[in-house]
Every structure is written in C-alpha cells, then in structure tokens.
C-alpha cells in the first residue's frame, strides 16, 4: 500500500499530539518522594520565599558523587512554571535512628545568564567559594534539563513523621543537642 506524504504528515502529527499530553503529565505529575520531603523541610525551615502562588514549581537532582560518601539533593524552586530563575538549595540527606534527615546546608537565588561563563548568575550569593558555586551552577543547568514538578503549598505541612529537618540556620546549641 502506498502511503502518501500527506498521510505520513498526519501520522507524525498524531503521534506528536499523543505525546504532548504525556509530557505535560510528566512535568506536573506526582513528585518523587525525596523531592516532596525535601520541599517539606524547606517549608518547615521557612526557606521558601513567601509567595502568593498556590503551587510550587520544583526540579531536582540527587548527587552522590560530589561529596564523597554523602547524598545531596539539589532542589530548584522556579519563580514561575515557565521561568528559568529561582532559588536553589543544597539538602544533605542522611539516615539516623530510622529517620531520614534532611539538612539544608546552602541556598541562593539565581538567574540563567548567557553572559556568565558558568551560565548562571547568583543574584543572592550562596555560602561557599569557587568550588561550591561551580557545583551549584552546573547542577542548576542539569536540573533545567529535567522534568519540573508542581506541589501545592498546602500539601507541604505537616511534615512527614518519618523525616527530620535541619538547617544551617538552626542555632548551634540546638544542632549540637540533636
């Protein structure tokens, strides 16, 4: 059977239309458990900027190589679903007494910038020097290529009982006590 060029175009268009909703679902589907819990801790420690948006747009990667022997979730909260600027957080994850501990160790606000050699400009700087900023910048670019997830702000509390939240902003006394 001879397939005409028009028929081929129609088939290709049909396949594209079928895939687009799937892609949309993927970017707005259920967030991974790790990302959701990290977001809960960011909210609990008041790191998320106060926003009237009912939903957060988040991306993340899990890094198990940069810090030998440690797991770090780099989480990006985008200013809006279609924006490429926002906040980045470094959340160290450990297991302790059957609890998963999410320890927020860094935060910064950024904007993607072609004028920067790293492709990222920190509007509000993170803690740390060159190595830390290199790592954050490359991670932000990596997350930019990953799916985005939306989480309703109202779902972030109360924090799941199986996790514990810590942050560098905790008082040293409190941190030593834990």
């Amino acid at each position: 059977m001879k397939i005409t060029r028009t028929a081929m175009k129609n088939i290709a268009l049909g396949v594209l239309l079928a895939l687009c909703p799937a892609a949309t679902v993927r970017s707005q589907g259920q967030p991974p458990k790790l990302l959701f819990r990290a977001a809960q801790c960011l909210a609990a420690k008041k790191f998320l900027p106060s926003s009237k948006l009912p939903k957060l747009t988040l991306g993340y990667v899990l890094d198990e190589k940069s810090y030998p022997g440690q797991r770090v979730a780099y989480v990006v909260e985008y200013a809006a679903p279609a924006r490429s600027n926002g906040q980045v957080y470094a959340v160290f994850i450990t297991e302790h007494d059957g609890h998963q501990v999410f320890n927020i160790q860094n935060n910064a606000s950024f904007v993607l910038s072609k004028g920067e050699p790293s492709g990222v400009s920190f509007v509000n700087p993170p803690l740390g020097g060159t190595w830390t900023q290199q790592r954050l910048a490359s991670t932000i670019r990596e997350i930019e290529k990953q799916p985005r997830f939306t989480i309703p702000v109202k779902d972030l509390s109360p924090v799941n009982e199986s996790i514990a939240c810590e942050a560098y902003t905790d008082s040293q006394r409190k941190r030593d006590k834990k």
């Binding site: 810090y67 927020i104 050699p117 740390g128 020097g129």
Partner: protein
C-alpha cells in the same frame, strides 16, 4: 593570571639525611618569596641545601643554577628565586617535588595535626578548592589576598571545631603552596593562643557583588549579615571581579 599556580620547582635536600622534607615559600611583601623563609616544622639546627630556578624565557623549571645553604630558622646565603609564580601543572595546582620513598609528596608535619574530625592538610585542600581561583588584580595590594586567605583559613578552622560543622567544599585535590601556608600559619597562630581574625565565625562565601551592594544574604528566617569582606580579586573561574565575604552567624 593565576598567581597561585606553580612556576618553580624547588628541590630541598637535607645534608647527610636521605629523608626529604617539604618546606614552602612564604609570600614576601610584594608576593615574592622571602629568601630563606621556610615554614616547615623541623629541628632548627638541621641545615639543608636548596635549589630553585626557572627559565625566564620558557617559564619552565630547570636544573638548579645555584645552590645555597641555609637553616630552617635562619637566612639563606643565596638570592631569592626570580618569581614565586610557578607554571601550572596538569590540574593547575602545585606540583611538589618532594617525594617519599613510594613517590608520594611528603606533607609538612603540621599538616597531620587534627582539627576536629579533619586535619590541617585537608583543610588546606578545602581552602584551595574554595578560593584557589582568586588572585590579586593588577595594581592591587597582595596583602589584601593574604588577609582574605587568613580570614577564610580561620573560618574553616572554627567550622571544623564545631560539633556539627557546616558543609564545605571537599578536601580533594592538592593544596596550593600559598593556601597551604595560610592554613598552617592560621593553625599555628591559633595553637599559640593568637587572635582569631574572624572571632569564631564559620560562614563565608565569594561573590561578584561588590560590598557596597552586598550587606546581607537571605536565609530561611531572615537575613545573614556580612561581617567582613576582602577584595577585589580576579577570579579565573568566573572571569569576574570577586570579593571574599565572612558572614555573621544566622540570627546575629
């Protein structure tokens, strides 16, 4: 400009002793090494021969053109090497020539001193990873970078001593001579009861935002204020003018 990368190869040899040590140069007033100033911790009476030379045309190290004799504590009887800025190694860091029997560089003894759960040598690697890309701009005062190095070295020492240290860059790679020295000097100064220039502070950062516009950074429940800043410096990574910032603890 990479003032921290190597352009010299220096060979040190103890007279009558097979073991090689690993002294490093101290930066002089204008960034040049001080003749005979070595910060290796070793018996002061040990004298040794040292030889350094660099081909001014190629910038590459050559066999020693001259040797002088000196003591660790005393002055050498040779002239200073022509430059303190060595050529970059493959990783852009210092290629120490002092080797142990198995070919590994021998660190100065103070590098093995414990600081919390880490060591002075490992903290020097962290320091290098964090600010090794910074250098003094043309016309700038090298002392400013030395002060920034010292402030950050002390902040890292303070952090390492905490029961729950903040996360910092990993202690991978090799410490640069200048920053290795900065860390050893900070540790030695503190061990002698010297003043901590950052007064216990542990938080630091670098930024291309000038001090006139960076007074604090947002944190979870407020803002973290700047305690002190150093710069401006050149940053070979970002290509931008960069400052070192020491931050107050959150809530202060």
């Amino acid at each position: 400009m990479k003032s921290r990368s190597p352009r010299l190869e220096c060979r040190f040899k103890f007279r009558g002793i097979d073991r090689l040590e690993n002294p490093t140069f101290a930066r002089g007033e204008h960034g040049a090494p001080k003749p005979g100033h070595l910060n290796a911790v070793a018996p002061a009476e040990i004298s040794f021969l040292w030889a350094c030379t660099v081909n001014k045309q190629t910038g590459k190290p050559e066999p020693p053109a001259h040797t002088g004799q000196c003591t660790i504590a005393g002055a050498c009887n040779q002239t200073a090497p022509p430059s303190h800025t060595p050529p970059p190694g493959e990783d852009g860091q210092v290629q120490q020539k002092q080797k142990s029997g198995d070919g590994q560089p021998v660190p100065p003894p103070v590098d093995n001193e414990k600081v919390g759960n880490t060591t002075v040598g490992d903290l020097a690697k962290v320091l290098t990873n964090e600010i090794g890309s910074l250098s003094t701009p043309n016309g700038g005062d090298p002392k400013e970078l030395e002060n920034g190095d010292a402030a950050l070295a002390n902040a890292l020492i303070n952090n390492a001593k905490k029961a729950r240290p903040n996360e910092v860059a990993p202690d991978t790679g090799t410490a640069s001579p200048q920053l290795g020295k900065a860390m050893r000097d900070a540790f030695t100064n503190r061990a002698k009861g010297g003043v901590d220039p950052v007064h216990g502070r542990t938080f630091y950062g670098t930024s291309h935002i000038p001090p006139s516009r960076l007074h604090s950074r947002p944190i979870g429940n407020g803002r973290q204020t700047v305690y002190e800043h150093f710069g401006p410096f050149n940053d070979s990574w970002s290509g931008r003018t960069t400052w070192i910032y020491i931050y107050n603890d959150p809530g202060h």
